[in-house]
C-alpha cells in the first residue's frame, strides 16, 4: 500500500471528526447586548416615525377638510383665505413647527439611543 492509499483509508473518519470541530468563529461576549440595543433603536425610530407621520397626516387631513368645507360654504371669500394663509410668514411658521416636532419625535430620540 503506498502512502496516498494508506492516507485515504485512514483519513476518512479522522477528517469527518476534524470537520465537526469548532472552527473558532466566535462572536464577542457582548454580541447579544449590542444586537438588542440595535434592535431597540430600530424599533423606537420606526415607532416614532410612524407616530410622526400619523400626526402629520391627521393635521393635513383636518386642514383639507376645513378648506373643502370653507370653499363649499363660502366660495367668494375662499381666495382671500388662501392668500391670507399662503402669504406672509404662515408657511414658514408651519414648516418650522413641523421641523421642531420631527426633531423632537424622531431625531432627538434617535440621538439619545445612539449615545
Amino acid at each position: 500500500m503506498d502512502s496516498k492509499t494508506e492516507f485515504n483509508s485512514e483519513s476518512n473518519g479522522l477528517l469527518e471528526k476534524l470537520l465537526k470541530e469548532d472552527p473558532g468563529y466566535n462572536l464577542s461576549d457582548d454580541f447579544a447586548d449590542k444586537l438588542m440595543h440595535k434592535i431597540e433603536i430600530q424599533q423606537s425610530v420606526k415607532q416614532n416615525t410612524i407616530e410622526f407621520f400619523t400626526v402629520l397626516g391627521t393635521v393635513i387631513g383636518i386642514l383639507i377638510t376645513f378648506c373643502c368645507t370653507y370653499y363649499y360654504l363660502n366660495k367668494e371669500n375662499f381666495i382671500q383665505l388662501k392668500s391670507l394663509v399662503f402669504n406672509g410668514y404662515t408657511p414658514i411658521i408651519v414648516v418650522f413647527v413641523l421641523f421642531i416636532y420631527f426633531m423632537d419625535k424622531v431625531m432627538l430620540r434617535l440621538f439619545n439611543l445612539l449615545k
Binding site: 492516507f7 476518512n12 447579544a32 434592535i39
Partner: protein, 183 residues
Amino acid sequence: MQETNLIDQVKRGNTHAFRYIVANNQKLVAHIVGRIVLDRDEIQDVCQEVFIKVYQRINEFRGESRFSTWIASIAYHQCLNHLRKKRRLNETNIDDLPIEHFQNEASPDIIFDNNETKRLLKQIVESLPLSYRTVITLFYLEEFSYAEIEQITGMPEGTIKSNLFRAKAILKEKLSNTSLNSR
C-alpha cells in the same frame, strides 16, 4: 424556557425573550456566516444583520421546520446577499490557489494530531468554493440532514450529496499532498 415558548413570546413583542433566542443560536449563525463570509471583520456585522432579520420575520415562522433550520436559511441567504453586495461571488477555484497555501512544516506522523493540522484544514475548507464549504459546514459542523440542507440552501439533494463528496475528495487530496510534500 422551551424554544417554542420563546418564539411565541417574541411574536408577542417580548424583546427580552429574543435575547435567549440569540444566545441559543449565535454559534450556529457564527459558523455559517464565518464559513461563507470568511472576513473576520465582517462576521460580527453580518451576524447582527441575520438576527435583526430573524427578529423582523419571526411572525413568518410557522413551525413547519426546526427553528434552527429556519435561522440557518436566513443566515445563508443573508451571507449571499452580503457577498453579492461586495461583488465577491466569483469563486476562487481551489486549483488556482498556490500549493504553498496548503503546505506546512508538520511531520506526517503528527498529521491530525495537532493544532497546526486543524489550522491547515480550516484554511483548506475556507479556500473551497462557496457551495462546497456551505454543505460541509451544514452537514458536519451543524449536523443538518440532507433534507434540511435542501431547505436552507435550495440546492437539490443530489447536488448536496455530490458537493459533499467532491469537497471531501478535495480536502483529502490537499491534506494528503501536504502530508506527502512534507515528508
